[in-house]
């Protein structure tokens, strides 16, 4: 799931002022705006957003894993477990119980403007392929893009990435 315009949700603790936007200037007044909520490109924005989502998840009985700070775990009364992994404004989650996910989605949609992207198939350049009880993780699409970008079409294939006993040096050879 992805949160739409995530950074706009953040509430600022610091005092931040902005100029009047060019298309909306009140000419007579020499005033600036004080921001209450965060805007994109603001230094404070990522932190403000993280506080909001962290507060929300904690309120919903999720516990942040002390050894991996973007992982949240929830165990409900029946002992069912749900994991939420947070990457800035993208949440990926997995669970024991289908109802837990339904509840979570519903409450998230109420709180934030969300897009449900369904089963994870492509995330940050990493392709995930699902086959019943098996998962394949690859970067095939990203790798193909990189090869195209650096015009590698005419090069021949090599079956090992590094020359045997290679010694590179800084000096000009």
């Amino acid at each position: 799931m992805n949160v739409k315009s995530a950074f706009l949700n953040g509430t600022l603790e610091e005092e931040v002022y902005v100029d009047q936007p060019p298309s909306f200037v009140v000419k007579k007044e020499e005033k600036v705006y004080r921001l209450k909520k965060s805007l994109y490109r603001l230094k404070e924005a990522p932190r403000a957003w993280n506080s909001i989502i962290d507060g929300y998840l904690t309120k919903n009985e999720f516990v942040r894993c002390p050894y991996e700070h973007s992982l949240y775990v929830k165990i409900n009364l029946q002992g069912k477990v749900m994991f939420v992994y947070l990457y800035i404004d993208d949440l990926s989650f997995t669970r024991d119980d289908f109802i837990m996910i339904q509840d979570f989605k519903q409450s998230m949609v109420k709180e934030f403007e969300m897009i449900d992207l369904g089963l994870m198939t492509y995330f940050l350049g990493i392709k995930v392929k699902w086959c019943s009880n098996e998962i394949f993780i690859s970067q095939i699409k990203y790798a193909a893009e990189v090869l195209k970008k650096f015009a590698m079409e005419d090069y021949q294939l090599i079956d090992n990435p590094v020359e045997h006993r290679i010694k590179l040096t800084k000096e000009r050879e």
């Binding site: 050894y67 994991f83 940050l124 098996e134 690859s138 970067q139 590698m152 090069y155 590179l168």
Partner: protein, 140 residues
């Protein structure tokens, strides 16, 4: 040679190591020279790209399993970098038959013997293992 071009290739390759641990060591090697790349470095870089081209379909495979036993392997090379005489640490962890975490990194100190180099590797590997154990205990 244009350093920006070199940096752009190495940067792309660096991100490609997220799911491609087979090129990790090679990418580490070429990353040492991003400040002042020479043609020999670019050649090594192109070689990695050729390898990627020939192995595009490689992916990591994970299957359902009840066995949560973790096995880790580590090793060190000997004077991989001729300039500062430092070695490279490498380790990876398996759960059943699937690898899920790995690292290849130049050591921060100069080892005076192969034995010391191995100790340095073992230490960083164990640090990672302790973190993994704590994480898994927390998830239980």
């Amino acid at each position: 040679m244009n350093p920006t071009y070199y940096k752009s290739i190495t940067g792309c390759l660096r991100y490609l190591t997220c799911a491609r641990l087979d090129i990790l060591f090679g990418v580490g090697l070429i990353m040492w020279y991003i400040e002042r790349p020479r043609s020999s470095h670019l050649k090594a870089t192109k070689r990695i790209l050729c390898f990627v081209k020939g192995s595009l379909s490689y992916s990591l495979f994970y299957s359902f399993s009840q066995n949560l036993k973790i096995t880790g392997y580590n090793d060190s090379d000997w004077v991989g970098n001729l300039e500062d005489r430092k070695n490279t640490t490498g380790f990876m962890f398996y759960m059943e038959n699937a690898t899920f975490t790995w690292s290849s990194k130049k050591q921060s100190i100069v080892a005076l013997s192969t034995c010391q180099a191995e100790y340095i590797v073992a230490t960083s590997c164990v640090c990672h293992a302790i973190w993994l154990r704590k994480l898994l205990e927390d998830l239980q």
